[in-house]
């Protein structure tokens, strides 16, 4: 007697459920590295950031770094939960990362205009500090905020499915 034919059931993959602990740890380590660089290289590290901004390379570099880290965090979460990364979530994650970092660059422009309007002798030093601060906040937000939005979106979806 031959063995019964296997039933062709379409494979169902679990969705990668995002938990904020995943990006939080990565953002914390990035923040730690940023802080150590600021303390150990107080002149050259900020100078490098300011020069990159002047050359127009800062925002693309931030987008690259944030997107790379977010991709790694997402893949690691998928691996840990034995789930398949979804195309839609990946695209949403990428779009959010780019949107947040670009949005921060507009805020930085506004902050620079604000510092220049103070008309004080050392306004250039203040502008440089604004650039360094915005780079830091932009990187942390570029990693943490997309996952926060995805977490809320997933919560709403799961609730809608449960209803």
């Amino acid at each position: 007697m031959s063995a019964p034919a296997p039933v062709l059931v379409p494979a169902r993959y679990r969705v990668v459920k995002i938990r904020l602990a995943d990006p939080a740890a990565a953002a914390a380590y990035l923040s730690l590295v940023f802080g150590v660089l600021l303390v150990c290289l107080p002149v050259s590290f900020p100078h490098m950031i300011v020069k990159s901004w002047e050359n127009g390379r800062l925002v693309p570099a931030m987008i690259f770094l944030a997107a790379l880290l977010n991709g790694l965090i997402y893949l690691r979460a998928a691996h840990l939960r034995s789930a398949k990364p979804g195309l839609l979530t990946s695209a949403w994650l990428g779009a959010l990362t780019v949107g947040i970092v670009v949005g921060f660059s507009f805020l930085l422009d506004a902050a620079i205009l604000h510092e220049q309007s103070k008309l004080i002798p050392n306004s250039q030093a203040l502008v440089n500090e604004e650039i360094v601060a915005h780079t830091y906040w932009g990187l942390i937000s570029g990693i943490f905020l997309p996952y926060l939005v995805i977490r809320f979106t997933q919560n709403l979806n799961f609730r809608a499915q449960a209803d």
Binding site: N122, Q124, A133, H134
Partner: protein, 154 residues
């Protein structure tokens, strides 16, 4: 910036590291002292309980401590001379991460009260990672504030 670059470029700014002491106070008073108090209580009452940090903060209480730290850094940011955009950005990120850290404790408390299944490992991991994030952000935010205050001086 040019004038500043004339100085030695690779000199570490150890004055910025004073914030490690400030963060250490939070760690000592918020984490180490409560843990020591449990040991003292056990000793006084002749109990054999020896809770670890993980057991002591297993319901996400670390998230609540992180929220308090986030509030204090937000207050420092608000009192600084940064541009309003920078203040808003920093405060919003600190507030969001603080709220999410506090939410870990809230969720743990609600689940426990409602008798819903709770995973202590997950609660501990979430609260620990979010508290680590806020601690790290707090340190860098204070270093940035220190630098800005120095740059403000003519």
């Amino acid at each position: 910036m040019g004038a500043a670059l004339d100085n030695s470029i690779f000199t570490a700014d150890w004055a910025s590291a004073k914030w490690i002491w400030w963060l250490g106070l939070y760690l000592i008073l918020g984490i180490f002292v409560p843990w020591t108090m449990t040991r003292t209580w056990a000793h006084q009452h002749g109990s054999k309980i020896r809770p670890t940090l993980r057991q002591l903060f297993q319901r996400g209480e670390l998230g609540l401590a992180a929220l308090v730290l986030a509030i204090s850094v937000m207050w420092d940011l608000q009192n600084s001379q940064y541009a309003p955009q920078t203040l808003a950005v920093g405060s919003v990120i600190l507030a969001l991460s603080g709220i999410m850290a506090g939410a870990v404790w809230i969720e743990g408390h609600c689940r426990h009260s409602a008798g819903v299944e709770i995973d202590p490992k997950r609660v501990w991991r979430d609260s620990r990672n979010l508290a680590f994030l806020i601690l790290s952000i707090a340190g860098v935010a204070e270093i940035l504030l220190d630098r800005f205050t120095k740059a403000m001086r003519p």
